[in-house]
């Protein structure tokens, strides 16, 4: 009973993960992107907690708490602070073409489902079904990095890819060894801090956070 109940909960959370990845892709406002990103972190922590409870894996509890603090609170807060200090929190980022992006996202999800199916059949873990969703979320994060124009949302896309890799790790192996997880967590934290510095550097150098502006500026430099 507990097994099937845990499975249902993990499946439900996996579905929500996919939904959040789509929502991240469809948001116009920078602040709502950050809200959805924080929600993704919380979902991730909840999944880790539930898998820990279902498999009686105590190390996973620690990583669940770490995920909640780091990805549910600290990283979104760091990004939020950067957005506030750069005064871009009211800006609306025009999406390239939201309908085409959504259709591409659906195609990517279908593709990852097709890819993962043979792997799923070999696995005997309770979380094997979430592998396809983790792969889809990863590709959706990459799609977000491709379709966005602003540096901040591209970074959120990158962090979303990292989130889904963590989700895949929980799904595929019931979590990595704790040492590795702590290492990865600190890497991500340092990366986020460095990205925060980068935002200010980009802003002072190019007067804009749009990636197109950088290319334009570089081209002008070449010509000069």
């Amino acid at each position: 009973m507990t097994g099937s109940f845990t499975l249902q909960l993990v499946n439900g959370l996996a579905a929500l993960m996919l939904l959040v990845s789509f929502a991240l892709l469809a948001q116009h406002r920078i602040l709502s992107v950050l809200h959805w990103f924080a929600l993704q972190g919380v979902l991730l922590a909840a999944t880790a907690g539930i898998v820990a409870w279902g498999t009686d894996n105590h190390e996973l509890y620690i990583s669940a708490i770490m995920t909640l603090l780091l990805k549910g609170a600290l990283l979104p807060w760091l990004l939020w602070r950067a957005v506030m200090q750069l005064h871009v929190h009211r800006e609306i980022e025009p999406l390239m073409n939201s309908t085409v992006t959504m259709l591409m996202a659906l195609a990517v999800t279908l593709f990852s489902f097709h890819i993962v199916q043979p792997i799923e059949q070999m696995s005997a873990l309770i979380t094997r079904n979430s592998m396809a969703i983790a792969t889809a979320c990863m590709l959706l994060g990459m799609l977000m990095m491709i379709t966005r124009k602003k540096a901040i949302t591209q970074v959120v896309g990158f962090l979303a890819v990292e989130n889904s890799l963590f989700f895949a790790a929980i799904g595929a192996t019931n979590g990595m060894p704790l040492v590795v997880e702590i290492g990865v967590a600190f890497d991500v934290l340092i990366a986020a801090l460095i990205f925060g510095l980068f935002f200010f550097q980009i802003r002072t150098t190019f007067d804009s956070l749009e990636v197109d502006a950088m290319q334009q500026s570089l081209r002008e430099d070449d010509e000069a």
Partner: protein
Amino acid sequence: MKAVLFQLLQALLLVVLAPLAAGFVATCKARLQNRRGAGLLQPWRNLRKLFGKEVVLAAHASWIFRVAPYVVFTATVMAASVVPALLVSTPLSLTADVIALVALLALARFFLALAGMDIGTAFGGMGASREMTFSALAEPAMLMSVFVLSLGAHSTNLTTMISHTLDTPLVLQPSIAFALVAMLMIALAENGRIPVDNPTTHLELTMVHEAMILEYSGRHLALMEWAAMIKLLLFATLILDLFFPWGMATDAGLMAMLLALLCWLLKLAVLLLLLAVCETSLAKLRLFEVPEFLSTAFVLAFLGLLIHYMLEVSL
């Protein structure tokens, strides 16, 4: 014989109750806005008044304009009569196919749009073109959302789908939640409720349904408005059938039917109250944001479909 009688009664119930349901939503909305409201029976009074008035026809109106109200009303009533409200399996249950249902509604919409364009006024043409644009997006999304449930039941027949839901034990199925949200969004759009269209306005440049029936009067207008009310009740019943069928009667016994009626009214009241809250708290979308709203519904329904395959098939 008894089942046939129940079938007729059920269809009649939907047709008669439709104005009351519309009145219920209007009253709930009025209360939420600190008004007293015109009462539950106001839509019935309106219809009676309109049936008593003479029909004023434009000089250029063709036969399509005169025929359209009857076609729209008949198609909607036919659609309403195949949807099971109380009894799961009715004599007409073989025809209670979701695709046929969508086709009947599409027929009604087709004539509505034709009638809107027939007179040649600017408003009618505008309303018709908008309605067709939105429906082209809403229809696939609706079918997609229904298909999520049909995948589990292996059928698009409503009766089979309801029996399947009643037979399976209650488990957490994320795909159905996705389909439900998509279906609710589409129901709002298809019935011209607030985030998409404002049902209480006659003087807005962004109106859709009202723009098409602007030239109608007398009994024609009454039939058009009645059809719209039936459509609202039809969608509500469809959502209840597909997602919350518990309490429906599986045999035509009197007690079971009474219980089913009670359950249905209760569920309906909750759903319509939800609609009133939704309409009061949301603002109308800009016209150009409606396609985005509908494509969100489509994406949700499609995600439901994918999630069904990813997570639930191997269970």
